[in-house]
C-alpha cells in the first residue's frame, strides 16, 4: 500500500521533473524574480526598524527569521502545492476530473501530486539564505533542539498550508470559479510575513482571533521562527502538531464530502 503510493509519487515527480528540464531557463528567471521580491518584501521591515530597534518584542534579526520562514513556505506553496491544486480547478472546469475518479487510487493523493514546479521553489533557497543572514545579525546560532523543533514545525506549517488549499479547492466543486478565492488566499497569506504579535498592536480582538485560529497563518511562520530562537514553549509546539493534524483531518473530510457532490461537467 505505502510502497505503491511511494512509487506513484516517484512517477509523478519524474513527470514533473521531465517538464522542468524542458523549461530549464525558468530556473534563472524564477531565481531573479524570487530575489527581487524578497528585497522588495524586506523594504517595509527596514522602514519599520529604522525608527525603533524592537517591535512588539521582536528585534530586527528575529523579524528577519519570520520573513525567512515566510519566503521558504512561499517556495513550498508555489513549487509543490499551488501547481497541483490549481490543476484540480482546471480538472473540475473541463470535466477531466472524471479520469482521476475512475482510477483505483486515492483521488486526493492523485491530484495533490500531479504537478511540481521545482524552479518555483527557488524561494526555499532564498529563505535559507535569510536564516543565515538573520542569525549572523543576531550574532549567535540556533540550538540543536531549537533547530529540530523548527524542522518539525516546517512539517506542520506545510500541512496547514496544504490543508487550507484543499479547503479552498473543495469550494471549487460548488462555485467552479475559484480564481477570486485563490487570490484572496494568497493575499491573506501575505500577512504571514510579520510576527503574529505585531497584529496584536494593529488589530485587536476579532482579527487576531481570525489570524491565529481560523486561518492559522501566524502560527505557520511565527512558531518556527520562535522555535529557532529557542523560545517557543513546549505546549505551543505540541499545540501546533495537534492543530495541524486536526486541520488536515478536517480538510480531508470536506474534500471527501465535496467529491461526493461532484457531478461532472455535462457531456
Amino acid at each position: 500500500m505505502v510502497r505503491r503510493y511511494l512509487r506513484l509519487l516517484g512517477i509523478q515527480l519524474k513527470a514533473s521533473g521531465l517538464l522542468a528540464v524542458q523549461y530549464r531557463a525558468d530556473f534563472f528567471t524564477e531565481g531573479l524574480t524570487s530575489l527581487f521580491w524578497t528585497f522588495t518584501a524586506l523594504a517595509p521591515l527596514f522602514v519599520v526598524y529604522g525608527e525603533r530597534p524592537v517591535v512588539e518584542g521582536w528585534s530586527f534579526g528575529e523579524a528577519l527569521l519570520v520573513v525567512g520562514w515566510f519566503t521558504l513556505l512561499q517556495g513550498i506553496l508555489e513549487g509543490a502545492i499551488n501547481p497541483s491544486l490549481t490543476g484540480v480547478v482546471e480538472h473540475i472546469r473541463k470535466g477531466t476530473l472524471d479520469f482521476v475518479l475512475l482510477k483505483p487510487a486515492d483521488a486526493q493523493f492523485l491530484v495533490s501530486t500531479q504537478r511540481f514546479l521545482p524552479w518555483r521553489a527557488f524561494n526555499v533557497l532564498t529563505g535559507l539564505g535569510l536564516f543565515v543572514y538573520a542569525f549572523s545579525r543576531l550574532g549567535r546560532w540556533p540550538s540543536v533542539p531549537g533547530l529540530l523543533s523548527s524542522v518539525l514545525l516546517l512539517g506542520t506549517s506545510t500541512l496547514l498550508l496544504y490543508s487550507l488549499w484543499i479547503l479552498t479547492v473543495s469550494a471549487a466543486f460548488y462555485v467552479v470559479r475559484v480564481d477570486n478565492l485563490t487570490y484572496l488566499f494568497t493575499s491573506i497569506f501575505d500577512f504571514a510575513r510579520w510576527p503574529s504579535s505585531v497584529f496584536k498592536g494593529v488589530a485587536k480582538g476579532a482579527l487576531t482571533l481570525v489570524f491565529t485560529y481560523v486561518i492559522p497563518l501566524a502560527l505557520m511562520t511565527t512558531f518556527p521562527a520562535e522555535a529557532m530562537l529557542g523560545r517557543l514553549p513546549l505546549h505551543a509546539l505540541a499545540g501546533a502538531v495537534v492543530g495541524a493534524v486536526v486541520f488536515a483531518w478536517l480538510a480531508r473530510r470536506v474534500w471527501l464530502h465535496s467529491i461526493g457532490h461532484y457531478t461532472s461537467a455535462s457531456s
Binding site: 513527470a15 517538464l19 472524471d98 475512475l102 482510477k103 483505483p104 487510487a105 457531478t263
Partner: protein, 340 residues
Amino acid sequence: MISVRGLRKHYKVHKRPPGLKAALRSLVHRSYTTVKAVDGISFDIRPGERVGFLGPNGAGKTTTLKVLSGLLHPSDGEVTVDGHVPRLREEAFLKKIMLVMGQKQQLLWDLPPAETFELNRAIYDVPAIQYKQTLDELVALLDIGDLITKPTRQLSLGERMKCELAAALIHRPRVLFLDEPTIGLDVSMQATMRTFIKEYNEKYGATLILTSHYMDDVAALCPRVIVIDKGLLSYDGSLDALVQRVRPEKRVVLRLAEEVDAARLAPLGKVVTHEAGTAVLQVRQEAVNATISRALAGLPVTDLTVENAPLEEVMSELFAENKARREAAAEDASRESVTA
C-alpha cells in the same frame, strides 16, 4: 455482467435567469429545475457482449455510462457491474472497468503518451511482464510506435485518440465504456478504431458499451443496440430487427442507360431520388421481387442493387416517431387535467 433496474438520474440545476436584477434576486431566492437525464431504464448485458447506445443529443447516454462507471450516483434504481455497485467505487471494481470519452482526454498534455502509460501502470498495479506484453500488443495493433514518445500536444486528433485508447487499456479492463470514441476522426481512422475495438473485445472477452452518432460504428461493432430517447429506453434488440420495424421498406437502386420519364418510374414504387441516370425507389419488402422484374422488363436498366435505408435515416425516423408519441401523450395528459 451488467444489470440495470429502473435507473433514474435527475440533475438539479440552478436556474439562472437573464438580466442583472433577476440574477441578483436569484442569489437570495434560488430556484431549481430538475433535468430528468435518465428516467427509469432497465437492461441486462451478458459478458463479452458489444452493445451500442443510440439516441439523439441529450438523450442520457453519457449520463448512463457515467452512472455505470461510478462517476455519478443514481437518483434511483439499482445498478451492478460484475457484482459491484459502481457508486461505491471499490478498487476492485475500478480495476475492471474503463470509460473512454472522445471529448475528453486523460493523456498528460505536455508529456509523451508513454509517461501516461507508465503512470497508469503504477496506478493499476500492472505486473511488469503483463505491462510489457500489453503495451507491445497495443503499439502493434494501433500502430503508435513513433507516437508514444512525442509530446501529446504535438499529436493530431486521430493519433491522440489512438494513444488515449491505449492508455485506457493498459490495465486490460474487462468492461469498457466508450463514449463517442470516434468523434471527429476521418473515415479510415474510424475504421481503424472499430477494427481495434472489435479485436480487443474478441481477444479478451471484454464487455463493451459504445455510444456514437456515426451509424457505421454501431453497424460494424454492435449486434445489439439500446435506443434511449429523453431518458427513456425505446428499443432493445438487434440492429437488423430495429431497421425492420422502423423502416421495413427496401431501396431499389436503378442505374439507367438513358433518361426515363418520371411517370414511368412512379408505378414501380415510391421514388426517393431520381437524377443523372440513377433512380432510387422505396419498395415494401414483399414487393421487391415484382418491382425488380418489372423494372428489368420495362426500363433500360444497366445496374441494379437492393439496399436497406441508410441507418441515419432510420434513426431520425425513429426519434421523430418517439417525439410525436411523447407530444401526443403530453396533449392527452393536459386535456385530462383540464377535464378533471
